[in-house]
Symmetry: C2
Subunit: 337 residues, 2 copies
Amino acid sequence: MEPMNRQIRLKSRPVGMPAPADFDAVDAPMPAVRDGDVLRRTIYLSLDPYMRGRMSDAPSYAAPVAVGDVMCGHTVSEVVDSRDPTFRPGDLVTGYDGWQQYAASPGKQLRRLDPAAAPISTAIGVLGMPGLTAFVGLVDIGQPKAGETVVVSAACGAVGSIVGQLAKIRGCRAVGIAGSGDKCRSVVEELGFDACVNYKTDDLVPALQAACPSGADIYFENVGGAVLEAVLRVINRGARIPLCGLISEYNATENAAGPNLRPLLVHRAMIKGFIVSDHADRFPAFLEEVGPLVRDKRIKYREHIVEGLDAAPAALIGLFEGRNFGKMLVRVADSGR
Amino acid sequence: MEPMNRQIRLKSRPVGMPAPADFDAVDAPMPAVRDGDVLRRTIYLSLDPYMRGRMSDAPSYAAPVAVGDVMCGHTVSEVVDSRDPTFRPGDLVTGYDGWQQYAASPGKQLRRLDPAAAPISTAIGVLGMPGLTAFVGLVDIGQPKAGETVVVSAACGAVGSIVGQLAKIRGCRAVGIAGSGDKCRSVVEELGFDACVNYKTDDLVPALQAACPSGADIYFENVGGAVLEAVLRVINRGARIPLCGLISEYNATENAAGPNLRPLLVHRAMIKGFIVSDHADRFPAFLEEVGPLVRDKRIKYREHIVEGLDAAPAALIGLFEGRNFGKMLVRVADSGR
């Protein structure tokens, strides 16, 4: 039997929370390999909150995935065939191949990985897009100064966990917000945050006041909704709020109201939205700083790995329900690495 | 009969819209004049939206006026007695004397005015705090570039009218938002804006889309509420939103919800609150640029003058109801100027 290329395609645009029926698992023919192309087999697929936007045709900063197309996503792969002299079978690469077992395209779209430098999965996690997101939002937009207090929501997630650790390394107090007692314990005990508020059980404003005795100078925002409203009650004069995501609103069928903005005025505070893909020029500086920190285990990361491409739809839905504990990855093929 | 000092004092903290009964008109004794003091008679009193905040004891960026105290406010005055050698009777000065006919304090709290350089009322209008507010918000926070589109709410008011004219001078398209057909006509025909949307009668989003064919790069926000929500629908990538005021919310008895913030994320836009008193260091640069523009009538201004201190409470209430047409001033004494 000829090898096939298993793919997960977008079957229908979800209304509200995506459902398994919005995805289609298909055994497609292997991709054609043209001159200059590199054929690779997916090892890891990254699942990220932004994918909800690509499933929708509401105007956003990037075009949606067309209905019937393969779902998009960052990947780590192994080269299996190459008509590009700079890649050889066995090379490990990272790309944007989406939810499928195989992909072929020109090698210039790939970045080669050194498996001796860091576990290859980190290329789509702490040393990839989520890490760069944390770095750009905290460092470039937040501009933290030693002694300041940095609050971050989704603190146990791929981005939030790095924000707090980078803040600690810069001499800041790091306060997380997460959705379970286990997550809060992990954020404090494993990742070294100073405090963590459980937004599902704590009375948010008093809990934030207790966790931020000097107020909040930076709030790295991943979630929106009631959490943002509460943090605005504890911000300091001149606070900076890098707006990275609003995951609590992504599956809403109506535009939720936002927070009252009077605190921005009273405290001369700033909210600034950003999209990591605008900041690719910061990748070398990011890697230079964070690479050694990860190697030396001064920045820790936790991965939530599900097995097999067919598990991806349920895993993405779990991400929106907060069921992940760390960076959500799909192991598409067992590479032995 | 001895001369008395008529004062308007805060009688009670308003709930919602201030009422005439929240103010008390009192004939107080003349202020004592100590060594180093300057006694002056108020000619003009400025009425401004921020005064609503001072009538409330909700936490804000400045302490409230105490119940029983004279209401605060910027003033233009004539010196009538001076124990400070740098001031003489007849000198014209601007200060922060509040809602009263006379005030005495050290001369260092006063700035001398040259009535030959500009009409003295401009010192609390286009060449005073409202003008500096427009300058700091537009120039320092908005950072306009020629060819961009600048939208400003309360476009017929003391601040908004200057924002649009400064934007035009910088080569931008200026689009106002105001609350009557007369105001919109004045903004376009007298002040030279390119367009003006009537928020009370126009369907806001389509009207803004028509007025901003290339979208909005800067939105100078004075009002909040539904107007802000609508402008967020037409902002461009990288838009800047200097947040100067939220007058539509100042008299709310409950915290209004704010706009959905997804557009900030999608368009990588920024909202930044500011308070003009933090930016006093910019006053010389402001005056150097805007002084000649006013003198040469390249920046026009319109004053809404009410007669007599006792008219101030109703005039301030009118300001919150949008009944002013230009900068709201009280003529406390007729100076013949």
